[in-house]
């Protein structure tokens, strides 16, 4: 496979998404409402009652990376719905009939999802600034967070596309998405420390990829420590590669 062509095609598919967002960005803003409410209502309340053992950090500090990861998770896990919709209006047919390799189309779509993830991250940073949450605004940390967000979104959106090739309809994808986000989110360290969970749930949360993402973002934004970062990023890279490879083989099923 020609690498230059592969990369070009992937970027073009992401460019398509960027151009759509430029024409109509309303969705981006509406997507920011939910995480904002989590921070404002859930965050502020638990911050006030000090119910969570969050160590040296305030609850607001603790939950901000968690909500950032959560909002990116939501976007990417439901990305399959976007792809199913694009199948319904013929766009996927059109993309797959081009000479571009199918894997580059899938990779491009996952890049498109990460583009939306980056916007989410920007919104949450802005919100954190507004609410006066003390997070480290060092350039390397911020860049690191964006790198994790991009990889995370790519990983889960390609998983979502893989599922979509079997589920085939928006309704089913909606169901699957909801069934997945619920345990991923609540059995992770996003909104409370793992230590307060019952033992069995602690094991679940250790196997939960979201925990690692939150951990990585938290270590950069709050602690400024990076020792877990290589492992987190490597794990994301490995899973992204696996999911993109599998999804590029299965995506044709969407058309059948």
């Amino acid at each position: 496979m020609n690498v230059t062509r592969f990369i070009k095609s992937s970027i073009t598919v992401a460019e398509m998404e960027a151009r759509k967002i430029r024409h109509d960005s309303a969705e981006l803003w509406t997507r920011a409402i939910q995480p904002a409410l989590w921070l404002l209502i859930f965050g502020e309340t638990f911050n006030a009652i000090r119910a969570m053992p969050t160590g040296n950090f305030s609850y607001m500090q603790f939950i901000t990376p968690g909500i950032l990861a959560q909002s990116v998770l939501f976007i990417s896990i439901f990305y399959g719905i976007t792809v199913v919709w694009e199948r319904d209006v013929g766009i996927i047919t059109k993309l797959l009939s081009t000479p571009s390799p199918r894997s580059s189309i899938v990779l491009g779509k996952s890049l498109a999802a990460s583009l939306r993830g980056v916007f989410q991250a920007l919104m949450i940073f802005a919100l954190a600034l507004l609410l006066g949450v003390k997070i480290r605004f060092d350039l390397p940390d911020i860049l690191g967070v964006f790198a994790v967000v991009v990889l995370f979104a790519m990983c889960f959106s390609s998983l979502s596309m893989l599922l979509a090739s079997y589920m085939k309809t928006r309704d089913r994808m909606m169901g699957i998405g909801q069934a997945l986000t619920m345990p991923l989110f609540f059995a992770s360290n996003a909104i409370y420390p793992i230590s307060i969970m019952p033992i069995w749930l602690q094991y679940v949360s250790i196997a939960n990829p979201l925990s690692y993402v939150v951990d990585a973002i938290r270590s950069m934004l709050l602690e400024g420590t990076y020792q877990n970062l290589p492992v987190d990023i490597l794990a994301l890279l490995v899973f992204t590669t696996i999911f993109v490879t599998l999804a590029s083989r299965t995506i044709k099923k969407l058309l059948e």
Binding site: K8, H23, V89, G90, T98, S100
Partner: protein, 339 residues
Amino acid sequence: MSFDLGNSKMSDTAAIEAENLTKIYRDSIRAVDGISFSVKQGEIFGLLGPNGAGKTTTIKMMITLTRLTSGKLHILGVDVSEHPQEVREMLGYVPQSISVDVDLTAYENLLIFAKLSYVNKKERNERIRNALEYMDLSERANDLVKRYSGGMMRRLEIAQALVNRPKILLLDEPSIGLDPSSRKQVWKSIKQLNQEFGTTILITTHDMSEADELCDRIAIMSEGKIAILGTPMDLKRDVGGDIITANLGSPCSVVSFPKEVGQIINNNEKSIQILTTNGEEAIPLIADFFRSHGIKVESISINKANLDDVFMKYAKRRLGNNVYKNIRSTRRDFTRHSR
């Protein structure tokens, strides 16, 4: 605007060569059932048939959107199963339903598609401009496609298939849902493409007038098989030719015409119907015949055989021949009463 006509050394390779092509879906439906045909370069080839006959599946196997179950399929000599990417590079494809991205402008649709087809950066903008001009969309190139009419979307769709200068254009029911004037415009562009640039065109349709208007050769598909293949002329001849109705001033008891004129299929004394192979040539002969017998002819009308008859004969054959016969006699009745 100039199109590559492909390597001249390849000129005697068939544009499309299908050999025992079969597609069986998972639920063991034989969507395409061992068809063989060959499309010459520079030809407009029509794949006709009722809904579900397997036309779209055949096209999808060509553009590699669905895998063939068995048989062979070559596009300009390249095996679709072995080199799908190479095959997609030579083809332009206009799917049955609208598939342009309505959230982008026409220009952006073409730009993205050109990039995904690896059109050289230097040529890209010119090709896009040409394709837009060619499809008469230049003025609204920067409008979002969702503000376009159905006909404009269709034209954009064809423009999109043209940016990578395909050697073969696959059109899956290109005029479906279009009003008559947009349809004419699409037909015009299809013919023009074929004549000016020698693009081979494979078109599926269930509109017989479209096939008659455009196609050099036609294959009628029915239940996954090719029922008949030939030029529109051949096929029309096959269903028996034209029917001439002569209305007479006085009753006539003539039993037969000379063979070269035609055969009487209906005679109710004052109105006689004659089946001929070529209606235009038969009319003067028939008029002469009655005149020489001293019978006054009040009017003569002709009902040309058309592809609808061919279609009905072959596409619905399995419903029994009666269906076809009924259609034919209904048409005769209609002709008779419409006087």
